[in-house]
Symmetry: C2
Subunit: 249 residues, 2 copies
């Protein structure tokens, strides 16, 4: 392969071949050529298709696997990652019971789901123009009957047409699984900002705690491919019997 085709090594925009391959693979994932849960072509097939060695394809897939976009299974092949899996269940929810490492049975109750014009804060977080349509979902998460998380979820209206409270309530399984299957929006990564706040009257009532109860306020922005923000979330967590768990590498 010629140097130019390898990515103009001298140019300031140089990126190694395996990164370009990674880009091509990412595009196929994003376009839906390979859907969540499906098997992608084998490394050797991709290598011949792109005219590079298997090792180069391998390194590209290594990075995709590290970013949780695909899952490797020895002897079987490489699969497109999906939110419909036990292992993906608590990737984005960091709340854990103080005793025991895995949350017990959890149930979700939809309090509200409506469309409205984006308030400035939501518009900024979702990179929408002020006044564009958004969907607001309010829901309560209970662990073993105990109200524990009160969430406000903001989504860009354009990408979630036909999303209703009934549809969400009827869906069993993780919300991100619904978004992925029904709306083709795959959540890839997120950033969270955590603060401690006192419960106001409305929040306290919903969570069945006293007014003024210290709560975790967790503000999340979730991104899909190409770092496009597609969800803003504001959650109040009761941390009497639970905590927010984090690993510092």
């Amino acid at each position: 392969m010629k140097a130019a085709a390898r990515g103009e090594r001298d140019a300031p925009t140089f990126s190694p071949l395996y990164r370009q391959i990674k880009g091509l693979l990412t595009r196929s994932l994003q376009s839906g050529e390979w859907k969540p849960g499906e098997l992608i072509p084998s490394e050797t097939e991709l290598a011949t298709r792109f005219g590079v060695s298997q090792g180069t394809v391998r390194k590209a897939i290594d990075e995709l696997a590290a970013e949780n976009l695909v899952v490797r299974r020895q002897g079987r092949g490489t699969y497109v990652a999906t939110h419909h899996e036990a292992r993906a269940q608590f990737r984005f929810l960091r709340l854990r019971p103080d005793q025991g490492s895995v949350p017990g049975p959890m149930d979700s109750r939809i309090l509200e789901c409506r469309r409205l014009r984006a308030p400035v804060e939501a518009a900024r977080a979702l990179q929408l123009r002020a006044g564009e349509a958004v969907v607001l979902i309010r829901r309560l998460l209970c662990f073993e009957g105990q109200p524990t998380v009160l969430d406000e979820i903001w989504l860009p209206g354009a990408q979630f047409r036909g999303l209703t409270g009934e549809r969400v309530a009827a869906y069993t399984g993780p919300l991100y699984g619904l978004f992925e299957s029904e709306f083709g929006v795959r959540m890839i990564r997120a950033t969270e900002r955590v603060k401690a706040v006192a419960a106001d009257a409305a929040t306290a009532e919903a969570l069945a705690v006293p007014v003024g109860e210290p709560l975790l306020l967790v503000e999340r922005i979730t991104f899909t491919y190409e770092d496009r923000p597609v969800e803003m979330r504001r959650g109040f967590y009761v941390t009497r019997g639970h905590h927010y768990r984090n690993e510092l590498g």
Copy 2:
């Protein structure tokens, strides 16, 4: 190289060659053969030393770099990571100002530093026998003059002989840098549990906030090589102007 020497592939304890090399490298790091900030031998030298190919050494070092044990610098070599670096400064402190991405000038005030017999909780976290000696440091962190973090730091006494409040106070730079240089204890990774709590009288006074103020309670256990716990920390964070930042991959 023979199959047996490669790690008994069929045994249940099988680990690939590059992982065994990684183990050898880790031992050299742990033993202090290569000290923080120093250059380790080149990949080719290590390859001949261990009688494997450069690619195998490379993959071992890749993992060490991913775990922040070493830092690669193209054209120069591979260095042992150290906590005396700008880049390592905020690896373990996740507090960020609400405006602006980097904390401003920070100063640390040592409130107390004494040795005592480990309370049960500290003993359990540090895997000590009840009653063994520990060091307790209490300190206040201020951002731009504002008291923001009140920390209780528990360390195993055996590994921190000669640690005094004066010595800590005299030290400019990160605490983990002091631990690394003066006591040969390198902090590798940590887990944190975050809760929301109301400030009690003593905490409120130290942080100059009203009693009952919602605070983040951050409980950290920090590990050195071989996942040995060597620090327990309990911190109260004021989150009026700051937040705990987290990335969900």
